[in-house]
């Protein structure tokens, strides 16, 4: 019945909104790139306010504050419009300082409060914003929180404590917020909770940086969050997180991409919190996660349909960084080759470059008169070798069986080697075809785009190992003069020995290759077994076998190989 709602008279006049917006901007005393507020629905075409949406938020696409004006009136907080707008401006202008920082705090939260059902970073930023807005408009903010309690009186222990902090911060002038009858029950369940709220308010806002504030926030709130989780297990209603609790824009992929590598501020804050005795026994934060673990933690809390793409993008970016650590960045324009081949002699004329004078030839030709008739000789670059150069075509056979970890969960050295080789070839204007295999093989099209190749080589099967010899034979028959690289371990030798027609397929594959390189994770002591398994193929001039003794060496070896193959 949205049209009926739309047909009502506006709850605020245009002038009222304009004045409130001006006053809200004055609270922060700074210029912001936001349009004046719109009623919910007018800018985005919505007609109804969903239950779980905040009272107000910033539509980052339209760069506009959106407010549910009727709801504000319904909860009896008509006079709080300026405070609500100032709250939203505060999120845009000050807290979070950047969305990158918000992403870092999200990861820190997972270390401090593992297993948390819903993130509390928004509440944390609300505490910071409301302190500033509350300096001049505490009563208005308190009215909004009070109004929502009338609408939904369910208050979890954590939300009770959160509201008590505001009561302690704003003082009696703003009025009580928590239901008076709840005080005794909370005190009985959490002895000293009121004093704790006061202590929190008078400590939290005096801390010098947001990371330390967040660790303190988590350490104090943990007690109430745990109780809320226990209540949830007993089937008690969880309760809302308040009217302004879901209004901070979410960090984007770039923000998370920066956050997965951790930050020194985070570690410093944890150390200081330990020194101040805020970290209780049994609540010690987990160690800083590695990048892939951090991606896993961030992914876990996302909606199912988003998880895969989110995870893949971050993992791909992580591997790109690793590849770039191994490969020197190529200049955008290739410099001309250095001239070093001497050409025929000619007479040097004044004005010519004196460095072109060939004094040896001049003395031999003119003897004592050499100084009067110098001869010059120019140098030129070597012409490119006939048939050489041109874009390289590379087929990479990557073993993704269970002997190596899933590259999305932990660093997979073989995957990294494939990434380095494919990136090198594509950066040299080459093309790459990937063959991912375990028990079955997945074959890509020829890939010319580094990102597409990167994502393909992040595929993982797990399970047993069966090298796709029929695929090798088929592809070899299709295209000759391809550089073929196999990245595997001892399983490759086992397959070579036991798979049907393996030797013949390998021979065909090698014969149809410009180079055939086997990068095998094998210690030097395996040389005899390698020779036995390859048999006659060892004599093929195209074949190179590279034994990689330690998994950590795969990156370096692949880099060397890339330089040797593609320059």
């Amino acid at each position: 019945m949205a049209p009926a709602r739309a047909s009502r008279a506006p709850v605020y006049t245009e002038d009222e909104i304009a004045v409130a917006w001006r006053d809200a901007l004055a609270v922060w005393d700074m210029r912001v790139e936001l349009s004046p507020p719109e009623p919910y629905g007018r800018s985005a075409g919505q007609t109804a306010w969903k239950e779980d949406e905040p009272l107000a938020f910033i539509d980052m696409k339209a760069r506009q504050v959106v407010v549910n004006f009727p709801l504000l009136v319904e909860i009896g907080a008509r006079g709080s419009l300026t405070a609500v707008l100032a709250h939203e401006i505060g999120h845009h202008a000050r807290h979070p300082h950047t969305l990158g920082m918000a992403a870092q705090l999200e990861l820190l939260e997972k270390r401090l409060l593992p297993g948390l059902g819903r993130s509390l970073t928004n509440l944390f930023f609300d505490l910071l914003v409301n302190e500033h807005v509350g300096r001049t408009r505490a009563r208005e903010l308190a009215d909004v929180y009070r109004g929502f309690l009338v609408k939904d009186p369910t208050v979890s222990p954590m939300y009770w404590f959160y509201l008590a902090v505001y009561e302690e911060l704003w003082g009696p002038e703003a009025g009580a917020i928590v239901p008076p009858e709840s005080e005794a029950a909370m005190e009985a369940r959490f002895a000293g909770c009121r004093a704790e709220a006061r202590m929190f308010a008078q400590t939290f806002y005096a801390l010098p940086d947001p990371y330390l504030q967040f660790v303190y926030f988590a350490s104090v709130f943990a007690r109430y969050i745990e109780a809320e989780a226990d209540d949830g297990k007993k089937g008690k209603k969880k309760g809302a997180l308040g009217p302004l609790s879901a209004d901070v824009p979410s960090p984007d992929l770039d923000d998370y991409d920066g956050a997965i590598y951790g930050s020194p501020q985070t570690e410093r804050a944890i150390d200081e919190a330990k020194a101040r005795g805020w970290i209780e026994e049994g609540r010690e934060p987990a160690a800083a996660p590695g990048p892939l673990d951090a991606i896993g933690q961030l992914t876990a809390g996302r909606p199912g349909h988003e998880q895969k793409a989110f995870r893949q993008t971050l993992v791909a970016r992580h591997y790109k960084r690793l590849v770039d650590q191994h490969l020197i960045a190529l200049p955008a324009i290739s410099p001309p080759p250095d001239p070093f081949l001497p050409t025929t002699l000619a007479e040097w004329q004044p004005g010519d470059d004196p460095r072109q004078i060939d004094w040896t030839s001049t003395v031999l030709a003119s003897g004592e008169l050499a100084a009067t008739r110098p001869l010059r000789r120019e140098l030129e670059a070597e012409p490119p070798e006939e048939g050489a150069g041109g874009p390289a075509a590379v087929e990479i056979y990557l073993d993704t069986s269970g002997s190596m970890p899933n590259p999305e969960a932990a660093l997979n050295a073989m995957t990294l080697a494939a990434q380095i080789l494919s990136a090198s070839a594509i950066r040299k204007k080459g093309k790459v075809r990937g063959i991912i295999y375990s028990m079955d093989a997945v074959v890509s099209e020829w890939m010319y785009d580094e990102e597409a190749a990167r994502r393909f080589f992040l595929l993982y099967a797990g399970g047993g190992t069966r090298f796709p010899f029929p695929t090798l034979a088929k592809l070899a028959a299709e295209k000759r003069d391809v550089i073929r690289v196999v990245i595997s371990d001892a399983d490759f030798l086992h397959n070579l020995k036991h798979e049907k027609d393996a030797a013949a397929s390998l021979a065909a594959g090698i014969a149809a290759s410009k180079r055939f390189v086997a990068l095998l994770a094998l210690a030097p002591s395996w040389k005899a077994q390698i020779e036995a398994a390859f048999g006659d193929a060892m004599r093929a001039p195209q074949l190179r076998i590279v034994q990689v003794a330690a998994l950590n060496d795969f990156g370096r070896v692949a880099t060397d190989l890339a330089w040797a193959l593609f320059g």
Partner: protein, 191 residues
């Protein structure tokens, strides 16, 4: 005599960071307040015993230094002189005695880094001089002081700390029990 608390806070916030005052300097600053109000300051020999008694005497010298700095850098100084002149105390040393006792647990570090504690110290000093806050009803001032009362908060907070400690012990015990059960289960499986 009314004190402009907002102005005092602005002055304090704008003052440059500097090391704590030496005790001699602090006493000189505080004694000058009395002289400017044409009153006799506390006798020289009264300072040492003042700083050695009370519920937390170890905090007193630094608290006195912190008060002297707050007075020296802000509008608290002229207002304090006026308040002393308007209501001369019978026993100047008693002014400090009462003041220091009300802020007994507030260390100088807290005053330096925590604006709430700073406000508490300033309000307590104003209270000790019998002053009022401009634009604030006496009842509101009393409630604000009650809210800022660090002594009371610490006393009540002890309950929370004890409760948290008990919860932490319970949690640690549960973790130990779970670990022991897991170890026992693993042992049984191997056998």
């Amino acid at each position: 005599m009314t004190f402009d608390l907002n102005r005092i806070k602005l002055d304090v916030d704008a003052a440059p960071i500097e090391p704590p005052y030496a005790l001699d300097l602090a006493i000189a600053v505080l004694a000058d307040l009395f002289r400017e109000a044409r009153l006799a300051p506390p006798p020289d020999e009264s300072w040492a015993p003042l700083l050695a008694r009370g519920s937390q005497p170890a905090n007193r010298p630094a608290q006195l230094a912190a008060l002297a700095r707050l007075i020296a850098i802000s509008a608290l100084r002229p207002a304090s002189v006026a308040a002393l002149a308007a209501r001369p105390p019978k026993d100047p040393a008693a002014v400090f005695e009462g003041f220091l006792e009300t802020i007994a647990p507030v260390t100088a570090e807290l005053v330096a880094e925590n604006p709430f504690r700073r406000e508490e110290v300033i309000r307590r000093w104003i209270e000790a001089l019998g002053g009022t806050i401009a634009g604030e009803a006496p009842e509101a001032s009393r409630r604000r002081l009650e809210q800022l009362d660090y002594r009371r908060t610490l006393a009540e907070y002890e309950k929370a700390e004890r409760s948290r400690l008990a919860e932490a012990q319970k949690r640690a015990e549960a973790l130990r029990k779970a670990a022991a059960e897991a170890a026992e289960a693993a042992k049984g499986w191997r056998e």
